[in-house]
């Protein structure tokens, strides 16, 4: 390059004209989880981007083949780790579909309530992080405060704040605590109040709206062909929700709406999640009202459900039951099943193949955020570098689910 203190004639200066390659590497605060984007920039706009995922691949699906069906629960927990209960419930339902059993009514309401609380936690994280990355730190802290209330409730119920491993084939690990209904209602009220505050703070903010409105648009046709489901697809205007289209548990018996966007941009994806939180709160209230206070949580099948520990220590039958389930693994009949639920990011599917033994032959997790991330390229090409942050945030790619 020419030295700086020399007078230059602008017509003689050589300006580089090749596009610039910027590596927004896997370790980057704006890359939720670990995703690498190699961007080809022309000035501020992105000509091409190469999205590389897989940095969080932990080999879950293979690991499932080295344990028993019950040992899969900690793995699915750590897929979408901001809404782990939805993963647990999804996997339990898949196993129960294969067995042809249905859990008792009390368990169904319990699973729904916990699942919707997990969904609220997921959306709080996503929207809070989106706001924070645009510079709005306060609403992020408010949302995290709300999320913490939910996590405290989860800790009371399951013993862990985040990755609970609470689901079981044929029920749940423990019945609801005595204060569950009271605390769940209180938490949901508080969370809704905080969501209202956040909305008031953000929806009138010029900077926030300018950064999100009209940014990162994807057409409906593209969204469908990419296989998007969940809030991203609903923001594109398509009202597909597994809970409404193929109801499971008691979703057919509760009232809730499906928020749908109009412009399919980042703002719509943000707002759809805010509205979904309100709908989930509605569902939780209905579950809490209708869940029976007495009755079994687990199905009464000695082939899949572990007996009470006190029985295991004292009686031979419970010892045998415990022994067979733990040592040989609970056995699912040979065959294959595809079971799907509405996860935090869309249709969370489990395609499982069983060979009749206690060890899974194949567990394939259909990760909704993997498909959403596949659309990242489409969404940010021809946007500006600064738009990457809200676009990527609005897709809610959870590394654990995307890479497994």
């Amino acid at each position: 390059m020419e030295p700086l203190d020399v007078e230059l004639d602008e017509t003689e200066v050589e300006l580089p004209t090749e596009p610039m390659l910027v590596n927004v590497g896997p370790a980057h605060p704006a890359m939720h989880g670990t995703v690498r984007c190699v961007m080809e920039l022309s000035g501020e706009s992105i000509r091409r981007v190469d999205v590389q995922v897989g940095y969080l691949h932990r080999g879950f699906e293979k690991m499932c083949e080295r344990g028993t069906w019950g040992q899969v629960f900690p793995y699915v927990d750590r897929c979408n780790y901001v809404s782990p209960m939805l993963n647990n419930v999804g996997f339990s339902l898949a196993c129960e579909k294969m067995l042809g059993i249905e859990v008792p009514e009390r368990c169904q309401w319990y699973r729904m309530a916990l699942g919707e609380l997990a969904r609220i936690s997921d959306h709080l994280t996503c929207d809070g992080a989106m706001a924070m990355e645009l510079g709005a730190f306060t609403p992020f802290l408010w949302m995290v405060k709300a999320r913490d209330m939910i996590w405290d409730l989860m800790e009371e119920e399951t013993g862990a704040r985040m990755t609970h491993s609470f689901g079981r084939v044929g029920g749940m690990a423990k019945p609801p605590t005595d204060q569950f209904k009271e605390h769940a209602s209180a938490v949901v009220d508080q969370v809704e109040r905080i969501v209202d505050e956040v909305q008031n703070l953000l929806y009138g903010n010029r900077i926030f709206l300018d950064r999100l409105d009209g940014v990162g648009i994807i057409t409906q046709a593209d969204a469908i062909s990419l296989g998007w489901t969940g809030p991203c697809l609903r923001a594109a205007g398509i009202p597909y929700d597994v809970r409404r289209a193929h109801p499971y548990l008691k979703y057919a018996e509760v009232e809730f709406d499906i928020p749908v966007g109009k412009n399919s941009d980042c703002l719509d994806r943000f707002m759809v999640r805010i509205e979904e939180m309100r709908e989930s709160a509605k569902i939780v209230r209905q579950c809490v009202e209708r869940m029976p206070d007495t009755g079994p949580i687990n199905v009464d099948d000695p082939r899949v459900v572990l007996p009470e520990k006190s029985q295991v220590y004292g009686t031979i039958e419970a010892t045998i039951q415990h022994f067979k389930i733990v040592m040989e693994g609970l056995k699912l009949p040979a065959g294959e099943v595809y079971s799907y639920t509405e996860g935090g990011n869309g249709e969370l599917g489990f395609y499982m193949v069983s060979d009749g033994s206690g060890t899974p032959y194949r567990v394939r997790i259909r990760p909704p955020s993997f498909l959403a991330t596949a659309g990242l390229e489409r969404v940010i090409t021809d946007q500006m570098v600064a738009d990457v942050v809200p676009c990527f945030g609005s897709l809610n790619m959870i590394g654990g689910e995307c890479d497994r």
Binding site: D301, Q311, A318, I320, Q321, F323
Partner: protein
């Protein structure tokens, strides 16, 4: 073949079969404890009860029973058909049996299971049978409920010393009398008997006796629960960590079919179990054979030695090649009746490549035989070792002794660890040169100038020909221990070192060559 109907399926049977035997032959399992295809019928466990369709024109024989009525909350009189034990019922053409399609049978099985577990101790965590226990399997499959008895179980003697090999636990025993029948019928030594009855039933020894015949470990094998345990295997390993391969017992020339159970995590062989083979050993093995697996780990030579110095295998191969360069007219090959045909074939071919034409076979000294299973020849492959020479003359231990004494043989390349007599063992030290491929300590290893460690039968797949001329394959269980390698590989290393070529390059060539010899033997390929 005549057939009868079982759960709507037509099953073939042979005249004289019972229902359970015919079903067993067709691969259908009717749950049972006391029945065994190799023993007489006792019909005391009642687990194999099945419903028999009555003859046309007559109703089934109905019994008065009490059944619990949930609505009334009490037991009410009911009727159920009398069921028959499948192990005792002879099959006749046109018989219609219902086992798992009958509700009465399902109820009966659940009840029998409840009864068997009524006084059963909570021993699963310390019981060796866990993982291969019928009580566990059948409870989960046929019952699945808690027993209705609320009292403490009847306490019986536990850990009773039955003899040098077996420990008995009366609380776990379901008194199926398989052990009693085995000792009486197969061994011909009625040392066990049942005492008392009802929930006080237990197995006892004949007065003044111990369980000390040659097949005691088979009582542990037939016991469907953890009542009889082998002192050798107790508390050593959990069966779900063990893998099995089909193998051939190395204890004697009978060549009983076995399973070698080993733990792949630490490459240790833990036990032998019999494998069914009607032509060779039916369902049984003797104690010597069952315990023979210990030789995989005991008394092994795992490093090469030149004189008494431990050296790396490459050095030992060089030293052996140096020794064998002078081998010629007064040299001999000694094959081993203890080693597989593949090992013997390779060493024989090595000898031929070196121009050695004197061949002998040695092995372990003879022992006690009997008319049940045991053979006096305690080597598994004497017949196979002789066959690999493809007709060339093979001398025995006595001939070798004579030839060493007369000076006709002064240099020896030997395969194997043992020789039959002490005199021959003495004579080995008089040889001017002795190169040995052996697996265990013994007279050959002690007298050797150069010793290369060979793998045992458990560390390589091999063919063994039994006393009847039947060639059987024993499969590899664990990887070769220490520096040891299969003897046929050692033979190839020696040939390479000496610049000689053998008529094979890989393991499967050796196998193919051996199978040609094996198929010329009197028996058929197993």
């Amino acid at each position: 073949m005549p057939t009868f109907s079982l759960d709507g399926r037509e099953i073939e049977f042979q005249p004289g079969d019972t229902v359970i035997a015919a079903a067993h032959r067709s691969g259908i399992d009717i749950p049972h404890y006391c029945w065994h295809p190799g023993l007489s019928v006792a019909a005391n466990c009642r687990m194999c009860l099945v419903e028999v369709a009555p003859p046309p024109g007559r109703g089934a024989m109905m019994l008065d029973v009490l059944r619990y009525d949930e609505a009334k909350g009490q037991y009410v009189p009911a009727k159920k058909p009398k069921l028959q034990p499948a192990c005792q019922l002879p099959v006749t053409p046109g018989l219609e049996i219902k086992s798992q399609t009958s509700e009465h049978v399902k109820e009966a099985r659940a009840s029998v299971q409840e009864m068997l577990l009524l006084n059963h101790p909570v021993d699963c965590p310390i019981c060796d049978q866990a993982g291969e226990c019928r009580l566990q399997d059948y409870w989960l499959e046929h019952n699945g409920k808690q027993k209705r008895m609320k009292d403490e179980i009847i306490h019986m003697p536990k850990a009773v010393d039955f003899g040098p090999t077996i420990v008995y636990d009366a609380e776990r025993c379901i008194v199926c009398t398989r052990c009693v029948r085995f000792c009486e019928e197969v061994v011909g030594d009625p040392v066990l008997d049942k005492r008392e009855r009802g929930n006080l039933g237990e197995i006892v020894l004949a007065p003044g006796r111990k369980l000390d015949h040659a097949y005691t470990l088979m009582t542990e094998h037939v016991c469907p629960v953890g009542a009889l345990t082998a002192k050798d295997f107790r508390f050593k390993a959990r069966v779900w960590f063990l893998r099995s391969v089909p193998s051939v017992c190395q204890g004697c020339a009978t060549g009983c079919n076995a399973y070698t159970d080993f733990d792949p995590r630490n490459q240790t062989v833990f036990r032998h179990r019999p494998r069914d083979n009607q032509a060779v050993n039916k369902y049984w093995m003797c104690d010597e054979g069952v315990l023979d697996y210990q030789r995989v780990h005991k008394g092994r030579l795992l490093e090469s030695k030149v004189r008494s110095q431990t050296v790396a295998i490459s050095e030992a191969v060089k030293a052996a090649a140096d020794e064998m360069r002078n081998f010629g007219q007064s040299s001999a090959i000694v094959l081993s009746a203890e080693h597989s045909s593949e090992d013997n074939f390779a060493v024989f071919e090595l000898g031929r490549a070196l121009g050695i034409d004197k061949v002998y076979v040695t092995g372990r000294a003879s022992g006690q035989g009997d008319s049940i299973l045991r053979d006096a020849d305690k080597n598994a492959n004497r017949a196979g070792a002789q066959l690999v020479t493809n007709g060339a003359a093979v001398g025995n231990a006595a001939a070798l002794k004579t030839d060493i004494e007369s000076g006709a043989v002064v240099q020896v390349l030997a395969l194997g660890s043992q020789v039959e007599t002490a005199e021959l063992a003495q004579l080995l030290t008089k040889l001017s040169s002795l190169v040995v491929l052996c697996s265990h300590e013994g007279p050959l290893a002690s007298a050797a100038r150069v010793m290369l460690p060979a793998s045992t039968w458990a560390e390589a797949t091999g063919t063994f020909v039994n006393r009847g001329g039947l060639a059987q394959i024993s499969e590899k269980a664990i990887t070769p221990r220490g520096d040891s390698q299969p003897a046929w590989k050692l033979a190839m290393l020696l040939a390479d070192q000496m610049g000689k070529s053998l008529p094979f390059k890989k393991g499967k060539d050796v196998k193919a060559a051996v199978s040609r010899f094996a198929s010329t033997s009197a028996g058929a390929q197993a």
